[in-house]
Symmetry: C2
Subunit: 272 residues, 2 copies
Amino acid sequence: MADRNSPIGVFDSGVGGLTVVREIMRQIPDERIIYFGDTARLPYGSKSRDTILRYTRQNIRFLMAQDVKAIVIACNTATAFALETVEKELSVPIIGVIHAGAKTAVESTRNNKIGIIGTEGTIRSGVYTKVMQAMKKDIEVIGKACPLFVPLVEEGLLHDTVTDEIASRYLSELKGKFIDTLVLGCTHYPLLRSTVGRVMGPEVNLVNPAYETALELKQVLTDNSLMCEVKDQSQDKYRFYVSDLAENFTNFAASILPGQVKETKQINIEQF
Amino acid sequence: MADRNSPIGVFDSGVGGLTVVREIMRQIPDERIIYFGDTARLPYGSKSRDTILRYTRQNIRFLMAQDVKAIVIACNTATAFALETVEKELSVPIIGVIHAGAKTAVESTRNNKIGIIGTEGTIRSGVYTKVMQAMKKDIEVIGKACPLFVPLVEEGLLHDTVTDEIASRYLSELKGKFIDTLVLGCTHYPLLRSTVGRVMGPEVNLVNPAYETALELKQVLTDNSLMCEVKDQSQDKYRFYVSDLAENFTNFAASILPGQVKETKQINIEQF
């Protein structure tokens, strides 16, 4: 059974969640981590609540089978559609990426106008609005789905005129609303931070929930007496699993976590 | 059990295969059709052979459970990765979209230089090269993966400067090789026909395998004494199933098959 020296389980639809893993490694470097990327069924952002809930439950069953002591849903869409339901079903602490990012945005806005960009699913769910207005009721939240951002990132067009043009179109509506804070509500989007920042201008504060999520995780582990007490120096400290194309994942992962992802194992997630 | 008046089963990863269904309806209008779009697991083009083979077998099991008399794989990636294997496992005729398109391209080229555009999976498989060189050994085949085309189509940017720019980049290599024939090797691509045609110029002949696949199906049904002999005028003649977001599918389908897709049912494909 899981104890305080067991690993933390983290999952996402693919590689994007590694931006969250990177922050966890920085904030709580002694923790062991098991990561699962559901590359056989990605993307999550264009799919329905019911389907994402079913996938989330399978991903959690896989992680629980590895005796994790806590789970991080490192995917905004899965957090939006499934966290509220699955947290009632679990015996270990579970957090998503929305609460921490929403809290930072609410604390940093001066004019109470916050923008949120994400997948179709995340924006359609309205979860950021709900969470932020529960924290501060006169917050105005303007959401915008940016479905081409993930394919553009995966095509490697991080700094490109096409990406600039698409970003200008997606973000023009948000600029017109004079937001002073923008949440990067998809784990791929921090990789487009410079493009988004240039389009929005220096007066708009960009919030990357990955950093805040790692801090929230540290707090949750502390509150539950689950902080790791041993120093694991083995190869096994960080383990990576995917449901498809392990080699491609390992290659892409190297750009987010240089030197950390030496091997990725493939599993059949439909069996969980 | 399936007889000559049973429906034809057609599947694709999503809506793209409806461009094949449209041609089947035109060429053999008396045939009943059952269509399945695997919207819970799309796209197929970026995933591995093993995963696509597993998905293809599940899709076929679903269609066989509806007593289809023949199956059309209306997806280039699934044809590339799975047709050769699954045709040995089946008791009914099965065809894909690659053979017919390859045949037309080989018959129409004058300079023996043929281009093929498709998903990562289709291009990586090398199947078009193999099939076309088996038909005519001195054919030179130049393949190019165009991973952003499907997201651009799904974002509705069929006639747009961004799509023009991406098409120019993807196709410049093919233009430099002086091909005279280009196969649109993904079922979404006929929707970008005018953009691709403008970039390639009027001297390059564009081949859409959907049309040729419908003709091949008609021949296969005739050869196997499986042409339908009744006129089904019921609502039930064309049936559409998906694994996720049936309503979105119905809406998008209206742009490919106006008036034909009245209702789409959702199933859990992982149970097959």
